[in-house]
Amino acid sequence: MTVNTFNGSPSQQALAAEIFRLMTAQGVLFAADAPIRQTLTNLTDFLASRQQRTPDDVAKEIDAALQANEQVFTREEAEGQVTFVTSRLGAYVPRIEDTSHTFKQRLYEPENPLPIDDISVVVSTSRPALTTVEPVFISDYWQRQAGLMPVLPDGETEDGVEAPMIAADAEETAPVIEVAPVEEAALVEEVAPAVPATSSTVLTLADGLAIDLRRSVDELMAEHGAVLASRLSSAIDNDPLRRIVSFGRQYYLESALASMGKNDMRRIRDEIVEQGEPLLDTTLIANLYYHNPRQSDYEGFRFSLNYRLSREKDFEFVGVQGANLWSTKGLPTIGTKRVKASEMAQLAAYLEEGFDDSLEIQTAESIHETGSANRLLTFFEWEYGILPLDANLKALLPPPLLPDQRSAVLRVESPQHYTTYLVEVRYPTGNRGGWLQGLEEFFHEHLVPGALITLARTPEANVFTISYEEAPPTEDRLLTLDEKKNKLAFANITYYCAVDADQVVNQQRFGRLRNLKSFPMAERRKSEMMLEHVVETLGEPAGTREQPRVRFNVNDVVVGCNVLRPMSRSYILSLITNNDDFEADPANEGVYIFHAEVKDTRSSGDDDEEEDVVETRPMRRGGRYADDDDE
């Protein structure tokens, strides 16, 4: 820029050119269009001292020269101070931000977004190396893409107002569309209520449930508490920021969790393995962290421990509401190893198929009120120490605390014998049934099949009691299973418990059961086959060699089937009803006739002639009888 480009007299042009050089030298490192400011006072002081003139004269000349070149120098006056602004380009033009399209917009709202299976692909919610937790913004656009927010109708903005552009289009196209007057009126009637006249106090949930917030919180919670808690839990679980985390029914801030590392996990695992059984969270805290329940941060620390362990693969939650028990790999198995979990789940599947009649003798309400459940022990239950988790026990035992919880460990105490047993509850999954295991020793020590037992709650959530009615010693020949020979036989046994005479599997009533084949556990899931085998073994032959028939009483068959596997009476009746080979005996209620297959020779053993003679010996109180089987 030369002197000639400036306006004014020659002296003013020269002065303006000099000041322009001075100011551009001052802002030599500035951006080309960045403003370069200098006050009139500073310019005057500099030039007056250099030209050895009075400042007032110089100030007037500078002001006049620069005002004559206002296309280059912008004059600003504020608080009595005059400032001139220029730029290296020669004139300062305020910068205008071009936001017609931005990288941020392209990043957050691409034209062709990839499908999202997981919102964490869009933004990582993992904790940074430094523990400062910053809120992460996820635009509504991505949340809608991931299905976390409802998609707004076309043309509708966040505020629910039609976008101006669409509205304009609609106005333009409106005259073209011919709509019958009646339809227009109907449309207006439909649209009219959507425009709020006044603010509303009625909150409407996604399922249409209306909550009037003018009512008191207590009233609303009493009426809709469960739904509101459930909806809030779902919303908190789906929050991509994970500000609030949950364990069971407890909620706490993610940022307030106590930090626990791999070393903590190793110590906890070692402690559980050393104790040899699942441990309570309170026990772990007391033994490893020496925290006192009276400390103000105790509950927060306890939550942190449970939350952290729930996210570790090496630990399994086996507790119930009110007792957070943790198990880990390397602990001894609870209960029998003779029945695999997969096999037992299939054997108990009939409970989930609707053939559960366990509440016929005691209602669920009664169990809830009394806190105790009574049941008769079957042979299968007695032999393996397993109780199917039917409605009777479900009414008594606590449900799983966590959604994906597989099992729970309970402590069952016998107040009659001062003994304690660890019992594992396996919860039903899908169409597989659940069961309890771990009472084998107690059953064999003190009970016989047909005994009436009572399970009862205690003040501790994970502790139950088991009891039975004691009775004078009774000697009988009862069914037993010889594991080595895999054979059923009768043995003389003296027992000291009250029994249901119809359920006791003794030789007098069920002598033919000694011929029952002890099928492998995997075979026993074939319920039809088991039923037919029991009927053929237990029933009375009736018919001819060409048309063999077997007559049986269903009550006996229920007892017989429960030697091989758990089966409810309703399940057995359903199998009988749906099988054409069975027919009811019209003359006798509860008696059925089975059309057996024609065989060359009927299997021997339907009499008791070949039964083994078993020497009895004095039994200790409730001794194990396997040693007394026929040998």
């Binding site: 009625v202 919670m221 809030l232 909620y251 706490y252 801030l253």
Partner: protein
Amino acid sequence: MDARTISYGETAIDKLVQWLRARGEPADAETIARQYLKILRDLVVEEKA
């Protein structure tokens, strides 16, 4: 605030976070739902009043 603009589980969840922080210990599902309802009620009813 107009109750129709409330998205249950999202609106004012930051106030619930603040309450939980001030509380200093975990809360069960019913307690947290009750407090959240109270927050929403304050937003709608008291603001209107």
